[in-house]
Amino acid sequence: MDLDLILQTFGKLIGGAGTTIALIVPALMLGIVLATVLAVMRMSGNGLLSRLARGYVFVFRGTPLLVQIFLIYFGLGQFSALWKSLGVWDWPMREAFPCAVIAFALNTAAYTSEIIRGGLLAVPFGQIEAARACGMSRLTVFRRITVPIAIRQALPAYGNEVILMVKASSLASIITIMEITGIAKQINSQTFAPFEVFTAAGILYLAMNFVVAMGIRGVEWKLTPHMRRRA
């Protein structure tokens, strides 16, 4: 183990961390929007919509993310004539970066929709009944009672999903994106010091996930003032 090399590599990898974050943040935001739509479809009571949402979740959870990335980046690239006629070929269909973001978003949406659904289902019926008895309208009940309780329920699971996303972002390196893992692999092929290089990258990922976990815990603390012990 060459400690100097680890530190040196670390400095170079920090630059890649920016790319990793640039991949994750839009993917998570798109993912949450899509997941909400899916969860609403799933719980709508409409047979067709609910079945569509279930099918979506089944397909995206049942296949490897790498297959999804390749299908979107290389697979859909096969129909370049169609994309050119639609005017989406130069961006995003030909570029690796937006393709990776789309693949991550579609993938995380499947998992997140189940988390949202679980959160909504966990809201005790008595709470909703009580709110109705207080004379709140359906929308007010949803906004004031259902959503806050559901968010509290879903938050720990969503935190895990964010960590999984941080880890999954390393797959972008396979389609030539130079994020942390991509840079690490490049440095490894120049230095032939796999232990030092990949250890440095691993520490960086661990640190990022630690920050995510702390952040989620902070939000949880903020959202549950009634659970805190009074000073």
């Binding site: 049942g62 296949t63 490897p64 299908l71 697979g75 880890k167 232990f195 691993g202 661990l206």
Partner: protein, 241 residues
């Protein structure tokens, strides 16, 4: 329409068709997953026991192991073991005075890497299950004069399997999908054969779709098997409904 027929021809078993190669690759995916899974279960069970009953040092080491596995990307672990093992093995061989370079087979590295990943997750599942076994039962075992290992084998382990099965089913799904990553080190499983076929025919779409469908078939089928196993181990438990 013609396009669809041409695509289907690509997947046929005759001349110019990749059907046979894909079946072989699907077999490789299953073999790789099964081998890594079994390796992971053994690692996980041992690590869980160390986490529950081990001393301060062992417990700390296991904590580090599971934290790394859960916090570091799978791809990075595969790279580390793939690029790192040669350096490590050759360094050890060098110390023994053997200078001939040695290479581990890609399949072995794949199983080792994915096995260690599944082992990290399995540790937590087993630990949770072991700790769910009521303490009174262990005391009762002792009262019957069973020594530590016998209590473990007769009282704890049978219940652990039942309690751990749902979690272990999830790990199997995870592992099945993680084997796709082993394609980067050159094991000819589903992902790899799709890449090879896509490159040589310049028609990536049908092949990646086929790979996705085959993965779905394997996951669906194995989910059913796990359901059956769960029902089998649950037969002694009375349900409320």
């Amino acid at each position: 329409m013609q396009g669809l027929i041409d695509s289907l021809k690509l997947m046929s078993f005759g001349e110019g068709g990749w059907g046979y190669q894909f079946l072989l690759a699907a077999g490789m995916t299953i073999l790789l997953s099964t081998a890594s899974y079994i390796f992971g279960l053994v690692v996980g069970l041992i690590a869980a026991c160390l986490k529950v009953w081990g001393g301060f040092v062992l417990r700390g080491l296991m904590e580090i192991y599971t934290t790394i596995i859960r916090g570091v990307p799978e791809l990075l672990i595969i790279y580390l073991l793939f690029f790192g093992n040669e350096a490590a093995i050759n360094a050890i061989l060098g110390m023994m005075g053997i200078v001939e370079p040695f290479r581990l087979n890609e399949f072995v590295i794949g199983v080792f890497a994915v096995g260690l990943i599944s082992g990290g997750y399995a540790t937590e599942v087993f630990r949770g299950a072991i700790q769910t076994v009521p303490h009174g039962q262990i005391e009762a075992g002792k009262a019957f004069g069973m020594h530590g290992f016998l209590t473990f084998r007769r009282i704890i382990l049978p219940q652990t399997i039942r309690l751990a099965l749902p979690g272990l089913g999830n790990i199997w799904q995870l592992i099945l999908k993680d084997t796709a990553l082993v394609s980067v080190v050159g094991v000819t499983e589903l992902m790899r054969i799709s890449q090879v076929a896509a490159r040589s025919t310049r028609e990536p779409f049908p092949f990646y779709i086929t790979a996705a469908i085959l993965f779905l078939v394997i996951t669906t089928f194995s989910t059913k098997l796990f359901r059956k196993a769960e029902a089998h181990y649950d037969r002694s438990v009375r349900r409320a409904s």
